[in-house]
Amino acid sequence: MYNKEVRGILIQGNKSYGDITREVLASQETKAPLWWYAAMFVGSVMFLAGIWAIGMTIYKGIGLWGNNNSVAWGWAIINFVWWIGIGHAGTAFSIFLLVLRQKWRTSINRAAEAMTVFAVLAAGLFPMIHMGRIWDAFFIFPYPNTRGLWVNYNSPLFWDVVAISTYLFTSAAFWYLGMIPDLATVRDRSKSKIKKQIYHLMSFGWVGSAKSWLRFEVTAVIVGGLAAPLVIAVHSIVSMDFATSVFSGWHTTIFPPYFVVGAIFSGFAMVLTLMIIIRKEFKLQDFVTDSHLEAIGKILIFVSLIMGSSYATEIFIAWFSGSEGEMYTFFHNRITGDYAVQFWTMVTCNAIIPQLFWFKKVRTNLTWLFIISIIINIGMWFERFNIVITSLSKDFLPANWVEYHATTTEVLIYLGTLGLFIVGVLLFMRFIPMMAMNELKMVNKETSRD
């Protein structure tokens, strides 16, 4: 059931099982490098700045933001969609590849899933503070209350709440479930009494008996299998926040697939950024080999082509529809006009630059891979900017037209979520096995070479 022929070398260096344990856990069992402390400091400062900005928003109100009556959704929703997109990577990566039985996922899935959890946490923060009265945020859940009211199940905003909470729970649970056997390994190797106690608590009494492994495998496939359609559902639902409203540039049926592919695109790019850092800094080249990174590069070319086609389709349909509003939005407010720079940044970063991956020299060069992975995430941020801001800033009544500029508070909140992500990922690198050791061992013998 779980057997499949594997292709190529997944783990280099002809390692024994003990070698895999030692090398993966080396980052935890040795002293943290200086760069880790430096990055932790920067991340914490960003995070604290974000907390301060959120505190000020709660204390003084949404007036501190650049939002106005026309552009009611500003940076908060851009960043929400951006983070959710990144958050799709982990689950998309580990679950789609699990369902497709692609064993090269084993070196990368743990880090990708960790990324998902921190990105979804960062994403979930934005709609809550965007509500303005965060202390009433629980009103969004359907619960018996003195008002006798329930929520509106026809609203995509409510679907969002259900989908994102389910996604956060499912991806966190899938991540933790996969981690249990490896936490037991850390427990058994710990020399310090306190560390042993903590990992004893976290490893849920795992021993590794045959029956436990069988139940574990079945549960992982079920949770993973259910999370796969969830990945598609969540970003489709996020896209419907836009697509179900009657706004030029938003009211289009291409949105669900376009958003899902965009999410996978930005997510895979972020996985690439992270894996290049992990591989280099923790000397894990034998596990994350050049062919792993090249495989991600190949996926990115494919997804980039879909992104380019989506942009072209949107523009074609705007022209084909004959709707003046649609044509104005695309031809005079995106391709040309006030937001042309943002539009062309998006096209260049997402549809043109990733085409460089067609060249083997580019997709096997770490520096290029790293730079392009960051360019893609910049491009994806601008895609969300284009969607949210351009349509809102110029609606059907020219009297309502306004420009939108983010304020310092909004920028700080965004930096704060970046800080949260950085701190989360750094803690993950130090305290949790960065790679699924038990899965690496499963593919070790049949795939390792000198």
């Binding site: 059931m1 779980y2 057997n3 024994s16 099982y17 003990g18 344990t21 359907p142 006798g148 009211l149 329930w150 509106n152 199940y153 026809n154 409510f158 679907w159 259900v162 989908a163 909470s165 389910t166 729970f169 499912t170 649970a173 479930l177 249990i180 056997p181 037991a184 390994t185 427990r187 058994d188 004893h200 608590l201 849920f204 009494g205 795992w206 021993v207 590794g208 008996s209 045959a210 029956k211 436990s212 492994w213 069988l214 139940r215 574990f216 495998e217 079945v218 549960t219 079920i222 949770v223 259910l226 999370a227 359609p229 969830l230 559902a233 639902i237 038990n438 061992k441 499963m442 013998k445």
Partner: protein, 170 residues
């Protein structure tokens, strides 16, 4: 305390798998096999089966599809039907919430089933401890109760002949 189980210790899963075959062919019953990672052949050789998938299907069907639908129907059609542009209260949009809700309910209860069935939880005690079992050591455990002294000797020989690096008792 008297040692209850005979343990064959291996450093290679292939040797352990051939040892399982020999032990079973000689009529001994294997109590448990402990490995640092999941090995499909062990499940097959020990004829292990799990019904968690059946449980998950039932959770999805009853808890998710029917449970979530009934909740939506009660709150939105019976208890307080909101008038949204005169549209009917029972709409196709329920499908979105039922779809996601079914996944939530199924994942939650499947995980709970796994943890309860396998007696796992925060701080749960390890039911067996042996050096290296979560790293690079493979164990075959056979219950000693009902085995004579010569049986134990024979079993130890079978295990050693198949590549056990050590025979232990615990």
């Amino acid at each position: 305390m008297e040692n209850k189980r005979l343990i064959g210790v291996y450093d290679d899963e292939k040797k352990m798998l051939s040892s399982i075959d020999s032990v079973q062919q000689n009529g001994y019953k294997i109590a448990d096999v402990i490995t640092p990672f999941a090995i499909e052949e062990v499940f097959e050789k020990l004829k292990l089966k799990s019904r968690i998938n059946v449980a998950a299907f039932l959770y999805g069907l009853f808890g998710g599809v029917i449970g979530v639908f009934l909740f939506l129907y009660y709150t939105f059609v019976i208890d307080y039907p909101l008038n949204i542009g005169g549209k009917p209260s029972l709409t196709l949009t329920f499908v979105v919430i039922i779809f996601v809700g079914t996944i939530l309910v199924t994942v939650l209860f499947t995980l709970l089933t796994f943890f309860i069935r396998d007696k796992k939880g925060p701080g749960a005690k390890e039911h067996f401890q042996y050096p290296g079992i979560t790293d690079d050591t493979f164990l075959i455990l056979v219950d000693k109760s009902g085995l004579s002294e010569s049986d134990v000797k024979g079993l130890s020989k079978i295990m050693t002949d198949n590549g056990a690096i050590k025979i232990d008792e615990k």
